[in-house]
Amino acid sequence: MGDGGGSNRSNSNKPEWLQQYDLIGKIGEGTYGLVFLARIKSSTNRGKSIAIKKFKQSKDGDGVSPTAIREIMLLREITHENVVKLVNVHINHVDMSLYLAFDYAEHDLYEIIRHHRDKVNQSINQYTVKSLLWQLLNGLNYLHSNWIIHRDLKPSNILVMGEGEEHGVVKIADFGLARIYQAPLKPLSDNGVVVTIWYRAPELLLGAKHYTSAVDMWAVGCIFAELLTLKPLFQGAEVKATPNPFQLDQLDKIFKVLGHPTLEKWPSLANLPHWQQDTQHIQAHKYDNTSLYSVVHLSPKSPAFDLLSKMLEYDPRKRITAAQALEHEYFKIEPVPGRNAFVPCQPGETFVNYPTRPVDTTTDFEGTTNMQSSQPVSSGAAVSGSMPGGHVSNRSVPRPMNVGSMQRIPHQAMQAYNLTSQAGMGGGMNPGGIPMQRGVPQQQLRRKDQMGMPGYPPPQKSRRI
């Protein structure tokens, strides 16, 4: 074999490309692979954090998974500040695995919302909500104008950059289900893919065969509401069956808040399979009035409520588009959105110091747990300067976990935790890193340190210069 790329007999344990990274540990796990955190060794980008998504060889013996192919295919073409950046693709010919390397994003909306709900017990700053939403729409507008539908938008797929040049910048991630929607070869609903139902648009729940970009806007509406209230807006119980079972409970949750859809307001409703077939179920309860404003605690006259209700418009054809939403009055009134969603423009305002992503340093690239090799890790970008308002944002929360402490955690407890978190999450995975592994103990330990002290510098002892 002439060139390095083709040499599938280089039987070293560590593929050559891998030697350019320092592996820190595992940050996520999904149905089709693992996600690792690594740092670049080379002098030009030394210390830069990279998330590496490893795709397992598909079980049915059919090569590289089509999900991986489509993700690479799309990400290789798109460049936008609010879309996760694919830095590199690597192949290990020995075990036929595929690795996608992304710029690492420290945070995601799932963790941010959870932190506010469970730890700091206060709503997210209006500036932050607006900036996150604006950037999400900005990235989505780019995708939609390039004929790409994401199809699986949910808080855990919306990443936010940690400290550095892009601090507080939103990155849309996980394109495993994304599609180019001009002339699809097969109806998209035939793929039988399972995604979280909480963010699923009503037309899909009612059996629409084709996706349009409007399904992403519905999901954005749900995410917007969740940013405001810290609770999923429509938390239906999922019917587990294949393929594509009718999700009555999810629809019921939507109807309860938004009122029953009518043919008057949504004419094409009549053509949707489940609307015709399951009439008695769907119309068992009559919910006439919308109670959305009281659920999200917004005045019905506020621009925020106006935008939200336009995103949650039943008729996909009338639903606001990403381009229109970016022009909405909500984004023109104070506080205006900014590039760093975490740092408010007005000095003097407090802001939250978000926890860093948990890293399991006991897992190597093969995905096997290896207690010996877990390396002690420095706390990364340890200290940052003072921020406006006199508050110090400091990410010196110790990242590494102690191998010993991991062993002390009863195995059963971990499993139970993982199970419940899965029930809520519904599977999927995101490239920049995933908030799975929620049961990993170091996370709980670390988060405890931080409880009840938003915006305050962590204890001195963990700071490194």
Binding site: N8, G61, P66, I69, M73, L74, E77, S145, R179, L185
Partner: protein
């Protein structure tokens, strides 16, 4: 990207004819001439089409597969990357990229059915290994634009969208994949060249229509000439010559 060819990797990576016509040094050593090189690629494009008809995938998948195959050989030698394995692998990969996945075992089955010759015989694991090498050779750029998409709006605009013209131009576009045009020219110009040829053949006056288009007519005419040259020389592409060319690859230098 998907809507805009001009910002796509396909557009950015269009090649000059000279780069496409570079025979890899390893193949050159074995006596492969430029003509052999073109012949083998044409034969492999036909092979991909035959396989595709067996496994029943759309023309777009075939076109993408052929483009992958041709792109591979702008970077890799046929000596290292056996065309008889690369061709079915490209179809396999294209079927995934174009969302109509074909199972590798099905391909292996039809390969055996199409060719009794042992040199074509490859197993599932060979295809899976080559899939990764092809991905690497393509540098993971998988989105390909084809002339088909612009064909019908263009025909409609020219008022030539009758069945006869549609079929004729569609067939001409299919044949352009027997050449390297897709690596060199933007797909809409290839479509225009096919319309140009068809309108000359059917004696339709499209001069005014072409003049109104803001495209470089010289390029369109050059592409048309290349297609016509190909048809002209097509008669000489015999089975024997193809086999002789493939035979050279198996020789020790």
């Amino acid at each position: 990207m998907a809507a805009n060819f001009w910002t796509s990797s396909h557009y950015k990576h269009l090649l000059d004819q000279e780069d496409v016509d570079m025979v890899n040094p390893l193949d050159k050593e074995k006596g492969i001439t430029l003509e052999d090189f073109k012949l083998i690629k044409m034969h492999m494009a036909n092979y991909i089409l035959k396989l595709a008809q067996q496994v029943k995938v759309r023309q777009r998948v075939v076109a993408t597969a052929v483009t992958y195959m041709r792109r591979v050989y702008t970077k890799k030698s046929m000596t290292e990357y056996d065309p008889r394995l690369v061709a079915p692998t490209c179809l396999y990969l294209a079927s995934k990229a174009e969302e109509s996945t074909v199972q590798a075992r099905l391909l292996v089955f039809y390969i055996k059915k199409l060719y009794a010759d042992d040199k074509y015989r490859y197993e599932i694991k060979d295809i899976l290994e080559m899939e990764m090498k092809v991905l690497e050779a393509l540098n993971y750029y998988l989105v390909v634009y084809h002339p088909y998409r612009s064909l019908s709006p263009l025909l409609q605009d020219a008022g030539l969208n009758d069945l006869n013209m549609t079929q004729l131009t569609w067939g001409l576009v299919n044949d352009t994949y027997k050449m390297d045009l897709i690596l060199v020219h933007p797909p809409h110009l290839i479509a225009l060249a096919c319309i140009y040829i068809a309108s000359v053949l059917r004696e339709k006056d499209t001069t005014a229509w072409f003049e109104e288009l803001r495209v470089d007519m010289n390029v369109v005419k050059n592409i048309s000439m290349e297609i016509l040259d190909f048809y002209e020389s097509n008669r000489m592409f015999t089975e024997e010559r193809i086999n002789a060319a493939l035979q050279k690859l198996t020789l020790r230098p």
